[in-house]
Symmetry: C2
Subunit: 696 residues, 2 copies
């Protein structure tokens, strides 16, 4: 496939300009020239610097217009103030794309954001594409295109290979380069995307999907900037059979706060981002080593169908095997029992094996035994992958210890190898032979777990019909929210708003006792805290009296609140209380959440989250994931809840994704009855987006 114009100018430019190139090649602005020369870039380099005629023997030009031939890609290394003019000049000179090194844009406060917006507008109107700003540049090792100020380009040579790196951190592309070199992981492209003002991770990812020499795409993520483009790219990668593997920083509260201050972007919660990536078929690893070592495990593979089964472990050291068992089990990956075929085979060698591990220590780990055992394991349907743990023989007898393993490079089922001792020669033999090899039991288990959990992108679900909601106030009152929830097809407790004590008694009698009465005011979010709730009222007199008590309390505690009246609601009971939530994350979009109700579930943060809207199958999966819902799933013989109705309610709430005005919605509690008795919403909340960040 012929590269697009953008791909060509980014990755395979015939002529590059280095705008602001320093004549001191050791300075950051001097490095790109040095690195391009060092790594044998085959195209033409035009350093642009009005104060000198040549740098390092390469003729210099005073400006982009004076370059003798059209430039494909300009690396602008000027200060932030000088960038707009340079971009304008590049566009005028017909440059297709420019990489901007300078920081001081969206990561640098309000003024920086404005400066970036101006820059983007300028580039769009001038018809030039931008990488960055705040990008350290990019590399295409096969072409010697070391178009970057990253100091790791001091490396004597750049290994080439099928892994492409797209990184929101500029320094990390250097770290990946150095670790890849030490472990025979070569790269097809490495791109520092900086602030993604124009070209985003998603658009660059799409170029890599079309790149014939890229077979795995690695993402180092600090934030999420353009979810739609990222989602499209992920789905395209899936169609093209190219695995996408992400490592994220900001997976903890402290990390998120840091990412936010570092990138100037919105911080989404770990759960939301992990859910978003999984939804679109992006695998995620949780260790930095895995990002370096996993590509060989993923290359050429497809996401797993949801399947039973586990990992079989073969070892020549009991202690080393045990470390992998522990690390897999810790990540809730099953360790496969040793199949009968293997037990029989080992018995021939006088070894009694069993339990969770094929321990070849006593069989002497001869190559023919290892080959036979792995063949047997690969042929066992319940085994999804094999982990081979190699002891001291990896250090001194790589020929015997690891060469037999090369047979399984690219086999249908993955073989992952963990070398227990420090064993460089074996590491290189396996890596060069295309066998995934790991230096730690943790990274081995992390990468295997990531591979086995990896799922295809979830099929999009169309939002159904939506209730007509007026969003004049910042949120709906409880009665308004319950009405909207009811229009979604979720049963709600019978209720009506009373405007005086007498009416409260009358409505209560119509609904039937016992009832609850709750203050109705769009200004009061936490009704209990203002004495605004009375429960278990057993007759009209109690209801009327409760109305008065509530009004007195609210008038005293929240005198400024606008009061609509009080909601009189039938009390509902069932097997369990559930919380259903909906949220439109500013960065990652709409999500639906289910959790067990009550204070304990809140303390344990026991919820399941998915991108909204969801299908009934996904809603059912969510119910399974919530530990605290075990009682209504039949735990210890307890009565089953109406999970079919709960599933429908989750699906229904998730369709709110079709209404971009809604920032948040919550049903708490949703009371779940016995099988056949349905679910009933007893309280609800709908909040509109007033951030101004809405995309409509």
């Amino acid at each position: 496939m012929k590269p697009t114009k953008l791909a060509k100018s980014l990755f395979e430019p015939d002529r590059v300009a280095l705008i602001g190139a320093s004549s001191d090649l050791s300075k950051p602005n001097g490095r790109p020239l040095k690195y391009l020369l060092k790594h044998g870039y085959g195209g033409t380099i035009y350093p642009v610097n009005p104060r000198t005629d040549a740098i390092g023997g390469v003729p210099c030009f005073p400006n982009i217009e004076s370059c003798p031939a059209p430039v494909d890609h300009a690396f602008i290394m000027l200060s932030a103030d000088a960038v707009p003019d340079a971009v304008r000049d590049c566009a005028a000179a017909g440059v297709a794309c420019a990489t901007v090194l300078a920081g001081g844009f969206s990561e640098a406060g309000e003024a920086g954001r404005a400066r970036q917006a101006d820059l983007v507008e300028l580039a769009r109107s001038a018809g030039i594409r931008l990488l960055g700003p705040n990008s350290i540049g990019l590399m295409n090792p096969a072409r010697g295109l070391a178009l970057s100020a990253n100091a790791m380009l001091e490396l004597p040579t750049l290994s080439t290979g099928g892994a492409a790196v797209v990184s929101q951190s500029g320094s990390l592309i250097g770290a990946l380069l150095s670790h890849g070199e030490a472990r025979d992981v070569g790269f097809s492209k490495l791109i520092s995307v900086g602030n993604e003002a124009d070209l985003t991770v998603g658009e660059i990812g799409d170029l890599l999907v079309d790149d014939p020499v890229t077979d795995v795409i690695l993402l180092f993520l600090e934030t999420l900037r353009d979810r739609d483009r990222l989602a499209t790219f992920a789905r395209n990668a899936h169609k093209a059979g190219k695995p996408v593997i992400a490592y994220r920083v900001g997976r903890t509260g402290a990390g998120q706060a840091l990412a936010q201050s570092h990138t100037g972007s919105l911080a989404s919660s770990d759960k939301v981002l992990a859910t978003f990536l999984a939804h679109h078929g992006i695998a995620e690893v949780s260790m930095f080593d895995s990002l370096i070592e996993a590509p060989r495990l993923f290359a050429g593979r497809r996401p797993s169908p949801k399947q039973k089964g586990g990992v079989a472990i073969v070892t020549t050291t009991g202690g080393g095997g045990a470390m992998v068992v522990d690390n897999l089990a810790h990540r809730r990956i099953d360790v496969s029992p040793v199949p009968a075929t293997v037990i029989d085979r080992l018995r021939e060698h006088g070894v009694i094996s069993g339990g969770g591990l094929v321990d070849l220590t006593m069989a002497g780990a001869k190559p023919e035994v290892v080959r036979g055992v792995i063949s047997d394991l690969m042929a066992t349907p319940e085994i999804n992958a094999v982990a081979m743990v190699v002891g001291s023989s990896a250090r001194f007898h790589p020929d015997l210890a690891v060469d037999p393993l090369l047979d399984w490079a690219g086999a249908d089922k993955p073989l992952a190898v963990y070398l227990v001792p420090d064993a460089e020669e074996s590491l290189h033999r396996l890596a060069r032979g295309g066998v995934p090899v790991f230096r730690t039991p943790e990274a081995c288990a992390d990468a295997l777990s990531s591979l086995l959990r990896w799922q295809a992108p979830v099929d999009p679900v169309a939002p159904g019909s939506l209730p007509g909601i007026s969003s004049e106030a910042p949120s709906l009152t409880e009665s308004g929210a319950l009405k909207a929830i009811s229009e979604l097809g979720i049963a709600v407790a019978p209720s009506d708003v009373a405007h005086n004590a007498e009416e409260a008694g009358r409505i209560a009698a119509q609904i039937g006792f016992p009832v609850a009465i709750k203050i109705a005011s769009a200004d009061i979010a936490h009704k209990s805290e203002v004495g605004g709730v009375q429960l278990n009222l057993r007759d009209s007199a109690e209801a009327s009296h409760a109305y008065e008590t509530i009004m007195e309390s609210v008038a005293s505690i929240a005198p400024d609140a606008r009061i609509e009246g009080a909601l009189v609601q039938g009390m509902v009971s069932g097997l369990a209380e559930v919380i259903l939530g909906y949220k439109r994350d500013l960065a990652a979009g709409p999500f639906v959440m289910v959790g067990a109700g009550g204070v304990l579930a809140e303390l344990y943060d026991d919820t399941s989250v998915r991108v909204a809207p969801v299908s009934p199958d996904v809603a059912r999966e969510m119910i399974e994931e919530v530990v605290g819902l075990a009682p209504i799933r039949g735990y210890r013989g307890l009565p089953l809840g109406d999970l079919a109705s709960l599933t429908e309610a989750i699906v229904a709430l998730s369709t709110l994704a079709g209404d971009e005005r809604i920032a948040e919605a919550e049903i708490n509690p949703l009371v779940v009855g016995d099988v056949g008795e349905g679910v009933v919403a007893a309280d609800a909340l709908i909040i509109f987006d007033t951030s101004g960040a809405r995309e409509d």
Copy 2:
């Protein structure tokens, strides 16, 4: 200090015998001779082999008696069957200690256990100490004592240093040796303890506490065999100021099952073993890399007092720093805010810093800036440790990037360094300079977290007075258990056993309504499952009727159970229900447990565990640790529970540790009232040890 006779014969023998030495030096039985020669053992080697005169130029002897001078240490490499005679001969020849290589003992079923017991008895009566059986041997690199068949001794040289390794896995000592060599971690001793038939981890650890060249002791553990000896050693190590750092396999269910089948030992739960180690002042790391990289961080340090504060992070790469932040936060270690001193200092260099990270990228990371910033951080009281994250400069400018860090080797507060790129030269400079250096953000955070959580051994607590309990049945009835609990000083719900329906009504009236009635039978553990429980009985007639209903149901469902009658008990209510447990773990000894009551707490496995008995301070800590007890600790303004009474109840239950007959005890629920209202046990269970494994 002069070594004891045992230490000398184990670690510094003048003469060693290799019993069963093979004349083929490549065979396992030939290797020790090869390795002793290769690594320059300065003592005398007597290979013992009746079929040859010399091996590798070293004169051979037909048996131990014929060796020309007294042997300090014999390495017995014969098959299991031949071991007893060899041990007997060694003892007769005055050998102080023998290491036994052969397996086939306690790790090999019933016959193996008997064989091991015989071997131990033989050794004790003959007055010879044993390492193993199933030991791959031991090493003292400084003396060239490579008395082992571990193939890693093929290494050209053995580095020496202050870290001693005591390992239940033989192969892992080789892995540690190879990784230590690659990272400049030298070892004082490496000992494979095998089955610990005679010399246990604890006794060997004690020898290392007295070893002048050992400064940190590393344990690779698969099981726990002699808790008292291990505890004594750990406390001695604490007194001597030598940190003990453990890595355990078997931290998951799958791992425990494996460890049990692999070692033939008892498997204790992860929580119990982690608690045991922490109780005795042993630090624990959770990654294998940390075991290799942490010793330099721990050497010369004392356990932390319980303190506020966190880790300050300095970085020359934003992305690299963020990875350390995430990994620390994931382990619940606080990241310290940047102090004002550092903000001022950086402002002088035109850098605005803040948030959770001192990012020196823009300050150019000049040595004087790095030195100044680290000095400021070390001088900040709220900062407990500093992590320095070094980017690409670590690869190409070790002199600038890491030499300034050498100033803090052994500083009062620890400095840990994470090198983001692959940077061997910097790694070696730091390691040789005594600065803790890490290759991954995960191991850096794991080791720091282990250091900051590390606590001194807990002071022993004397068990108080115990109830007089008769242990004729396998367990006590509920009334018997409640009586025993009451004698411990814990209030119990008023109750008495009724023997007929009329008596049930009368007792109920005496107690006061409402009451519960529960079947009283030592044969029925799960009373609800046989229809043996009726609650909320409001008068004598209801109570009498409930008695009859219960008896009918039990007679039909459990006709063979011996029935004592039915327990009539006052219903108690309070703010929360708690579960208190006590268990004597067969390997790790007595523990006390507290958790929130009810099915959700059980599902979330939300409990706090300590070695019993506990002090009131420790009991209070336990209450703080249980997430589900937040509501009675004042969460969201909810009413406080009587935590003082709960503390007393935990302390009281934990004194059951004084009665070795008791295997398990449980109060479920213990009802916690408002402050001042106390706690009341509503159900209790006491089970005696019938395993025959009791040590009395």
